[in-house]
């Protein structure tokens, strides 16, 4: 039995363990959960709690629960846990031991070796402490790799060609950005920057504040005093954040939130993506500033970066992708689950060390961008066919995204929806793959909101639906083979373009599938014709006769005679060449 080396992402907030099984990377789940909160605690009976259970008691028993121990790694201090002092590496070891046990249970064999990831900025002391934590947990740390390195590996960083990647890692509570250089399968971190206290939890808090202000304003109730209602608002805010990753509006509705002056108070509120993006703009600006600092540290400009990789659950926020696109001019990658890709990279590294085969993390992605055209501005000029991408290239499938548009003039009763495939900012330069009308819209002023939803499944079926937001009036179409269609379309376009260049007319020659003998015969004819210059007239005459005969046989479908003539011609060519 092969000795298995596991890959571990030992995070500040969460940790994961991954292995490679039959060449495929698997993040091992414990009780259907792939993410283990990085919490350690002791329960009433003195038993050790790791993960969610420890987190559940943190608020009541902080004296016997430890969280975010990673922040203390490498420091010469002791943390108190139920009256006993422990070094940070001992606490980390408890988490590692739990991850080891999860892997062992899945594999049904003991595990003794691991690759563990650490932040790029970790000092030697912090790395040493992590190594010790592994040893205490009974794991030989065969290698420690930087988190951005692991992310790059999950995105095929083992490739030979040289490239520079920007790894943008925004988790629940921490942010890191790194510039890495990949050459001949070696990943090197050129620079790194970050903020230890910035993440998706801050985004949730902004939405919570927004809801609380709304309730105070509209109902005159300060919900901060009502625990149950506050707990429901917290959940609703987090849920709204998730919805806004794919849709332009999130409806936040909580019925019977609380009772006030003898009446039930309900929460019903709509949050639009632009409003949400305004709330979190300062945080996003801070991350973009950090990107600039990291780029400066690596002495590089945006044009030197070949790829951007998004890591951490909070990178699902669409404006992050847009901001990075504006900075760098190309789409960031996010197809590998951003919560798990560091652990996956660690497992890939582990497998490479043990000399086994490993495939890159396989994710079904769309190879093209899908969008629609709208009136807008292109190169600062008014243009009626501005391309608006909805499902971006390299998005994991299946996927469903919605964008909002508004009518252009008062009393507009019809909108024409055109769906394109491609990346050009001018919609007309992309391939039109579908078109339909939505008729019978309300007779209202310009600005009537129409939402357009694109849903692309694994079989390449693109379901497009447009809805008038105010009335729910909906029209939809389904485009089959949306993924392959462009390939054919593009081929025809390319062929026509090349033909034009060579001054040929645009008729497309239909190439039939020919039998292998015929293909061979044609090759032989070409070869014979190339030899005409060095051939005596007598031989040439024979060859011309044979070529003619072969052509006749092909046309008439005379296989036997074709064989004979081909053999004769081949003889002459052999004689001439030798």
């Amino acid at each position: 039995m092969n000795e298995i080396i596991i890959g571990i992402d030992l995070g500040t907030t969460n940790s994961e363990v991954a292995i490679v099984e039959n060449g495929q990377v698997v993040v091992v789940a414990d009780n259907n959960k792939k993410i283990l909160p990085s919490f350690v605690g002791i329960d009433d009976q003195g038993d050790i709690l790791v993960g969610e259970t420890a987190r559940n008691q943190y608020l009541v028993y902080p004296e016997r629960t430890v969280k975010s121990i990673k922040r203390l790694m490498g420091q010469d201090i002791q943390v108190d846990l139920a009256g006993h002092a422990y070094a940070p590496q001992e606490i980390s070891a408890i988490i590692l031991k739990r991850l080891k046990a999860i892997a062992e249970q899945y594999l049904d064999q003991p595990v003794t070796k691991a690759v563990i990831t650490v932040p790029a900025y970790f000092s030697d002391a912090q790395r040493q402490a992590t190594r010790e934590a592994g040893e205490i947990a009974g794991l030989e740390v065969v290698r420690m790799i930087n988190e951005p390195t692991a992310a790059a590996l999950a995105y095929g960083g083992d490739q030979v060609e040289q490239k520079r990647m920007l790894v943008y890692d925004l988790g629940g509570g921490t942010f890191d950005v790194s510039v890495v250089n990949i050459e001949a399968g070696v990943v090197e971190v050129l620079s790194s920057h970050g903020d230890n206290h910035l993440g998706g939890d801050d985004f949730d808090q902004q939405i919570i504040e927004y809801i609380l202000d709304h309730l105070l304003e509209t109902q005159g109730v300060d919900v901060r005093q009502h625990s149950k209602a506050l707990a429901r608002i917290t959940r609703a805010a987090e849920n709204a954040k998730f919805v806004l990753s794919d849709e332009p509006y999130a409806k936040i509705e909580e019925e019977y939130l609380l009772e006030h002056e003898g009446a039930a108070i309900h929460l019903s509120l709509e949050l639009s993506r632009p409003d949400y993006e305004d709330m979190i703009e300062d945080y996003i600006n801070a991350t973009i500033d950090a990107v600039h600092i990291a780029m400066k540290g690596a002495k590089l400009t945006p044009s030197d970066i070949d790829e951007i990789v998004l890591v951490g659950g909070s990178t699902r926020t669409p404006c992050i992708r847009e901001r990075l696109y504006n900075e760098f001019g190309f789409e960031p990658h996010s197809e590998v689950d951003p919560d798990l890709c560091v652990a996956m990279g660690a497992a890939i590294q582990a497998t490479m060390i043990s000399g086994q085969e490993v495939n890159a993390v396989l994710v079904d992605v769309t190879p093209y961008t899908y969008g629609t055209s709208a009136i807008g501005y292109m190169n600062v000029e008014y243009y009626p066919f501005t391309y608006v991408p909805i499902i971006h290239k390299n998005t994991a499938l299946p996927n469903r995204k919605t964008e909002a548009f508004v009518t252009n003039h008062d009393g507009q009763e019809v909108v024409n929806i055109t769906v394109y495939q491609g990346e050009d900012p001018d919609a007309l330069n992309n391939i039109k793959i579908g078109e339909f009308l939505v008729e019978g819209l309300q007779d209202v002023d310009a600005g009537n909101v129409i939402t357009l939803t694109l849903a692309l499944d694994l079989n390449g079926m693109l379901h497009v639906s447009a809805q008038e937001k105010a009335t729910g009036l909906e029209k939809s179409i389904t485009i089959k083979n949306a993924i392959s269609r462009f390939e054919h379309g593009a081929l025809d376009t390319a062929r026509q373009r090349i033909n034009k260049l060579f001054g040929q007319n645009e008729t497309i020659r239909v190439v039939k599938n020919e039998a292998p003998e015929v293909v061979e015969a044609r090759k032989l004819i070409t070869k014979a014709e190339a030899l005409f210059d060095i051939t005596s007239n007598e031989d040439k005459e024979d060859m011309i006769d044979l070529i003619e005969d072969i052509n006749n046989c092909i046309e008439a479908g005379l296989d036997d005679r074709l064989h004979e003539s081909v053999a004769k011609l081949a003889d002459i060519i052999y004689y001439l060449e030798s």
């Binding site: 559940n56 008691q57 608020l59 019977y256």
Partner: protein, 215 residues
Amino acid sequence: MNDIHKNSLLEEFQTYLEQTDLAHIISAEQPDLSTLLSEMAGLRSEVKAESRHFKTTLDTLDNALTTVQTANKALADELAAHSEQLQQMRSETLRMLLLDIVDIYDRLSAGFGVLQNYHPVSSLFNHSKKQDIRFIKSFKEGQSITLKRFEQLLQRHNVSSIDCIGKLLDPRTMSAVEIDHDPKLDNGIVIDELRKGFLFENHVLRLAEVKVNKL
């Protein structure tokens, strides 16, 4: 065998010899032994070749059998794995559905709580209308029946609620989201349930979110 029988056989043999022309056997040339030997050798090598072919065929058959057996086993394993996967998927789908049902149950319960807190106005000059009181009473009864229906549905699927209030915090089934200070109660006792928790087949379906006493 008696003599008569023997004699009769001898006679028969004699008749046979007399009647049969054995000239060709006698006149036939003696066989060329070296040709015979070489033919015998040829025959031998042919038999050997045949038996080699036969052995190869047997080996091929054996291999084919092994391949079929291996494929069969792989197929059986695959089927077992798929059936397990299907079971897991079913259970996961049911879990998700039950979570949604539990969420609707929560919301209905919250509405029912508001109805229960309703008290008709009954002051000296101000009274709630009788028909309003009756309407609200019957609405409350209806809601109570609907709630019971939900409870029965959950029970049928082995979903049970987690009993929290007054109990010591159990981090395996409850999550402490708020603390309070009540000197009359022990440390770690659950004072309030902010969100009901549920068990599904003795596993946590949803954690209870609780307010806990902290001394």
